[in-house]
Symmetry: C2
Subunit: 216 residues, 2 copies
């Protein structure tokens, strides 16, 4: 049994939802109100000593934490269908593309960073939105640059089936779209994101589709 | 043959140096002056379309990029000695601990973020140092919380040999130490970092020991 601690707005929780759906695994999601600070409450610290979502509880072991580590765990324990290529260079490419979003962009946009920008520099909503767009565009440009230079045949980032890079880059796109970003500058990514949006396993994981999300 | 594109100051390049040393692999390092903006030059874009170090060139394939993806590639292609545990839950623990540093802390401290804090919010050196310390302490507290709650016997983060979490957390410590951080609040990590510092494979990878680093 899988219990996902997430939140409608969390792009990292979105990744885990998509991976579980691609693997065909049922789960229950519990919402941690990261916009209201519930990730800092003692009740959640008992789940994850890092005040962040997602965490994935599996049977009676310690909760798994960090979305990329959860995706790797799912890949190792539920290998079919695979989310990583079979060859090490392909796996390195996919993981590198994931990390452009999951490491070098998304952590700059999360509530604790937005709160710090406000408290330390007096950043208002408009300034935070500008900051967020800047780092999302940088990540999309980096991923597009890699994919355009070293393309792999197929409809998805790495071949003919969706995998880890599609999941993680599409989670970045969800935040980018929410901030009004467009894709003219990223033709490779635009093609892949259109495919993600049309796939019900990706679409059902989107922030807008989660309980608690504001009406469009 | 391995060619590492790094820089003395890069904590992400430091991780790759340690991993190569633990695996017993020889390499050549080329410095990309990330403090002077050389990562944005066309010559480097041909290596890595994302303007960041490290990149690892191996034989004639496209350069590998993103330090965690490089570490995973080294683990898959040069499995001895292992940097990850054998069991999936152990691997998830180690990867999660790595990502607390590699995703949720370090990307907030890199030159492009420091430059953005200065250009968008007028942050001076003192403000940037305060920002950096804040997010490094948060990451150390999160890692300490996990290690203290779910310890694994042994002298290192996960058993009796150094692995991926020791590498990545120690890279964070190098930045933390450089900013004057102390370890009183992190007794588990303090013990592990002392062991890292005493290991010549870790010590030789330290920013202070690289060509171009300022004299102490």
């Amino acid at each position: 049994m899988f219990t996902l601690y997430g939140h409608w707005r969390s792009l990292a929780a979105m990744r885990v939802r998509i991976a579980l759906a691609l693997k065909g695994l049922a789960y229950t999601e519990r919402s941690v109100d990261i916009l209201g600070g519930a990730q800092f409450a003692p009740a959640y610290a008992a789940i994850n000593p890092q005040p962040a979502v997602p965490a994935l509880v599996v049977d009676d072991g310690p909760p798994l934490f960090q979305s990329m580590a959860i995706l790797e765990w799912l890949e190792e324990t539920q290998p079919d269908p695979p989310l990583l290529p079979a060859d090490p260079r392909g796996r390195a490419r996919v993981r590198g593309l994931c990390l452009i979003a999951a490491a070098d962009s998304h952590p700059l946009l999360v509530p604790r960073v937005r709160a710090r920008l406000a408290s330390q520099f007096g950043a208002d909503e408009a300034a935070i939105a500008e900051w967020s767009r800047y780092f999302m565009e940088a990540a999309l440009a980096a991923a597009e640059g890699h994919i355009a230079r070293d393309p792999v045949p197929g409809d998805w980032v790495h071949g003919d089936a969706p995998g880890m890079a599609d999941i993680v880059l599409y989670s970045l796109r969800a935040g980018h779209e929410q901030r009004g970003g467009t894709l003219e500058a990223y033709p490779c990514l635009a093609r892949i994101f259109a495919r993600c949006a049309a796939d019900p396993r990706f679409a059902a994981a989107h922030p807008r589709r989660q309980p608690g999300a504001p009406a469009a």
